[in-house]
Symmetry: C2
DNA sequence: ATTATCTATAGATCTATAGATAATGC
DNA sequence: ATTATCTATAGATCTATAGATAATGC
């Protein structure tokens, strides 16, 4: 039942990808190691050959999801004439709202992160620093401090609006929240 | 071991209060029924005389936490000359950040709410409607639609900034996030 | 007599480990 | 020979229930 070294690396990678999606969909506590391995096409026991603990995987899967988000931010920003508007338009969509498994980790698991281990939190901290640096370079503003401040508050608005749009049980209100977030960033 | 009807009502109330705090501190999945009852000074089995399920308590505890927040918003808004600034100042503090158990449910459990039952989500929806109505009445703005939009995006900024400030592993960055959120609301 | 609470436990689930198995890589 | 994966299971924990207990409220 052994596989090639290359295949093993692929398997490991698939576990991380599967976890990155399922954690965002169901929460860190919403899926167990056994189910996760089954979704990745492997058996329960094999997990601990790749990771030392579930927390270890949580950290790695989170880091990967965050890296993807940053890459997407960069590519979206490069596209349009007004980068911040472009990011807000891409972020605050019903598609993103309805597919948390492929979306922003902060919106999907933000409040859970603060209750988890130092490795996840370090990954989030690193991501936020990079994202703020990126956005601060795109925002118009008098001083560097002002641009950083605008970058941070913009990101906060996006995350907060997505959390609220997902929490709400009413499609019209949910859409109103997405629209209000976009309008505020573009104002 | 029976207690008076009045005492039983008090016990039930204490379970809800304890849950409202512990859920916000540790997450809905972070504390079990047994530990929760112990914290409330009762035994595990007694729980199901008061509630039909843990989900039932989650809904009731969430509704209570949200009601408290709305009351606080109202009282803070009445205090100052600039109500929105007053709310931002009261919300985005290190004290709030470091005490999620007594703070905003959306910041503490926002991303978990979307993964839970219809009763919790209905409570959040009702709260958001009330909070937006309240804030929209306090915001300056040309049209009613503009004031609503500003109310929603302001609340989103507060929630997002608190989630980010708590997720981050660095005190300076965390403080910078709180400050940026405040500056943005007050601008 | 009713009922709020207690003790005890069923049944499910979860993380992690031990040891067997079989294919790779030297 | 090494090692990636598998089967099986230990040990802990979690929700919910059953039945006993003892104090209230008629």
């Amino acid at each position: 039942m052994k596989v090639s070294r290359e295949q093993a690396a692929e398997n490991r990678d698939r576990i991380v990808e599967t976890a990155a999606q399922l954690f965002r969909e169901r929460g860190f506590e919403g899926i167990g190691v056994a189910d996760l391995m089954k979704e990745a096409g492997l058996t329960h026991g094999g997990f601990y050959g790749h990771f030392s603990s579930k927390e270890d995987l949580i950290a790695e899967a989170s880091a990967r999801a965050l890296m993807r988000s940053l890459a997407l931010f960069t590519s979206v920003a490069e596209r349009g004439a007004d980068p911040l508007s472009a990011i807000a338009s891409a972020y605050l969509t019903s598609r993103h709202r309805d597919n948390p498994g492929e979306g922003c980790l902060l919106a999907a698991l933000g409040s859970d992160v603060s209750r988890h281990g130092p490795t996840v939190r370090r990954a989030v901290t690193g991501h936020l620093r990079s994202a703020v640096d990126l956005l601060a370079g795109l925002v118009p503003g008098k001083s560097k401090a002002r641009r950083r401040q605008k970058a941070i508050s913009t990101y906060a608005t996006l995350v907060g609006a997505m959390v609220m749009a997902r929490a709400v049980d009413d499609r019209a209100l949910s859409q109103e929240i997405l629209d209000a977030g976009q309008a505020s960033v573009k104002a």
